[in-house]
């Protein structure tokens, strides 16, 4: 049981960190192209793919490592922004970036805590 949870937690953290990292690059790309005519923003699709895991957790069922098979962050193109809402694009991207940075740090903290729990087990509970 513990081995299973361990694998799933680390794997999910890894995937989510990959997604946040890729999302940062996508946002940086969008910001770099804020003055490019006809540019279509790049987005990252990830959370939508975790629906199976969310459904399992809602029903109280254990999360299995196989549910994460095939889940990976992917880049996709949004519709091209209209020339009139360039500044709106910049505002949204900067806001997304702030949120994404906090998300990344939260994930890092969560993974760090998880590893600390493992460390406590290795040390037989001693500090």
């Amino acid at each position: 049981m513990f081995g299973n949870t361990e694998a799933v937690t680390v794997e999910m953290s890894r995937l989510a960190l990959d997604a946040a990292s890729l999302r940062h690059q996508a946002i940086a790309h969008n910001i770099a192209n804020v003055n490019t005519p006809g540019f279509a923003p790049v987005r990252v699709d990830f959370e939508r793919q975790m629906e199976t895991v969310r459904a399992a957790l809602r029903d109280g069922a254990p999360v299995d490592g196989t549910m994460l098979a095939g889940v990976r962050p992917v880049l996709m193109r949004a519709a091209p922004a209209q020339d009139t809402d360039r500044t709106a694009l910049l505002d949204l991207e900067v806001a997304d970036m702030a949120q994404n940075t906090v998300q990344y740090e939260a994930l890092m903290k969560a993974l760090g805590k998880h590893l600390a729990i493992l460390g406590a087990a290795v040390n037989e509970g001693k500090r």
Binding site: Q25, A28, A32, N35, T36, L75, T101, M108, G112, G119
Partner: protein
Amino acid sequence: MDYRNAFAISASGMTVEKLRLDTTAVNLANVHSTRGADGKPFQPLSVKIGEAGASFATGFEQLAGAARLRGARVVQIEPTNVAPRRVYEPGNPDADEQGFVALPGVNQVTEMVNMASALRAYEANVTAMNAAKTMALKALELGGGQ
């Protein structure tokens, strides 16, 4: 996380915005240039910007495709086809027979707006680069004492 790519993307955006700022400065500096390098009146310049490494098609791309995010690039700096302003100044050595001098059609309001927008976009790129740095440093703390 490939930090180098995140930094490279933001750097490309900063390069582009810096060049827009430089172009604006050149246009404003030449607002009264009656004679360019080729003897004709100076033509205001404009920067054409394009997306760099934009080879992937609409739709989905695997994680490996992140390397294709390259930010922006300068396609071309080209002279704009704005008609020169004609000012009556008979004493000027560049005046024509009627005493008119052709001054470049630099629109100072447009140039100032371009400057402000380039400045804002540059700042946004710097913010993105700082965010990448924050994330990278946070990742270094992983596993170090709780």
